[in-house]
Subunit: 220 residues, 2 copies
């Protein structure tokens, strides 16, 4: 009855996780063709679970399936990423405002821990840790569905940033903003925390290729 590591469930699921990791980490570049037979051989399985995995990844937006032609890693355009930042800008401040009154000491120390971790961790994990931090801050709002949606958004943004040559390193700025943000949360300063979060998200868009930048939606 140990059951320490959760049973890996099905092969198809494992393939999904492995391929998703490779795509997000940039090991599979956007536009790269994904051949079922080759993937199957490399992983030592048959094509059936590979096909199922590709279907699932398509629904997640990481892969494009063209009938009778095969699968390729979905490209992300700068404009898509700009839209994803818009989504963040509309949803995350809302969640933070709901979360702050519900935050516990444990939430705040977990946030602090993640901020510290982000400094020492290598750049390859920064995006994931960044989402871990944001999720920690929004989690007390008790909005699991919205969080799942945002997780996918962050995933795609992370992938795009990894892809881009720009690789402007905003980590120093981000760290300062994160620290201030957590302080404001600890102090229960909802308004100021929300404002800072808006600026924090906008700052992250500042170095995207010049495209439609999100505006504040007229909510003054």
């Amino acid at each position: 009855m140990s059951m320490l590591a959760i049973s890996k469930s099905t092969i198809a699921t494992q393939i999904v996780e492995e391929l998703r990791r490779r795509i997000i980490k940039g090991e599979y570049r956007a536009g790269m063709k994904l051949q079922q037979e080759q993937i199957a051989q490399e992983l030592g399985v048959s094509r059936s679970p590979v096909r199922e995995a590709l279907r699932q990844l398509e629904a997640e937006g990481l892969v494009i399936l063209i009938s009778q032609k095969g699968a390729e890693v979905a490209p992300i355009s700068a404009s898509e990423v700009a839209e994803m930042f818009e989504i963040r800008l509309q949803l995350e401040p809302h969640l933070l405002a709901l979360a702050i009154p519900q935050m516990t000491a444990a939430d705040l120390s977990e946030a602090a821990r993640l901020i510290a971790l982000m400094e020492t961790s290598d750049v390859g994990n920064w995006g994931m840790l960044n989402w871990d931090l944001h999720r920690t801050l929004y989690s007390p709002a008790e909005r699991p569905t919205i969080l799942r949606m945002l997780e996918r958004v962050h995933q795609n943004i992370d992938r795009y940033l990894r892809m881009e040559i720009t690789r402007y390193d905003g980590r120093a700025t981000a760290k300062a903003e994160h620290q201030t943000l957590v302080s404001l949360c600890r102090a229960g300063q909802v308004e100021r925390a929300v404002s800072l979060l808006r600026m924090h998200i906008l700052n992250a868009t500042a170095h995207l290729p010049e495209m439609a930048k999100p505006d504040n939606g007229g909510t003054s």
Copy 2:
């Protein structure tokens, strides 16, 4: 060169569309078990494309797959629906504000056409037409990614409403609001249209079971 009804390419894709339709229309009730063999026989195909379809529907949130146990139609809780209304409330007014300056006469007449259509159409199609209308209004904003996300949200809300006994019929109210909304868009009254849209979305939540109702996120 007739090619009237395009063969939708692959069988798996057709199965996805058929099963999605059945789930959204409520023909398959939440929690219902979906057996591969039975579905395959009924549709006259083999299990392979059925399995792929179920995988995709799982990623869309309409189906739950439990390893070694099978698939069932995903339940929707009232709180999930409440979250989806929150998402609408945060994103749709933003899109509308962006869209209004870009609207053409064609957009507005299409909206009017859909409003008329909603009156005569039977209740089974109301939800889909409602989304068609809203999408028409947001489409000039040129935010395809956000629209895709909202489409899924509307899909799930529609499914929930169909499921519920409550079936409060807000269509009359909705129609009046829709008409006023289009008028404000035509007049270029961004602020007032956005306000009305917020109220319109909130009104739709008014008859959900008493749960955490969305608030305005503190953006006064």
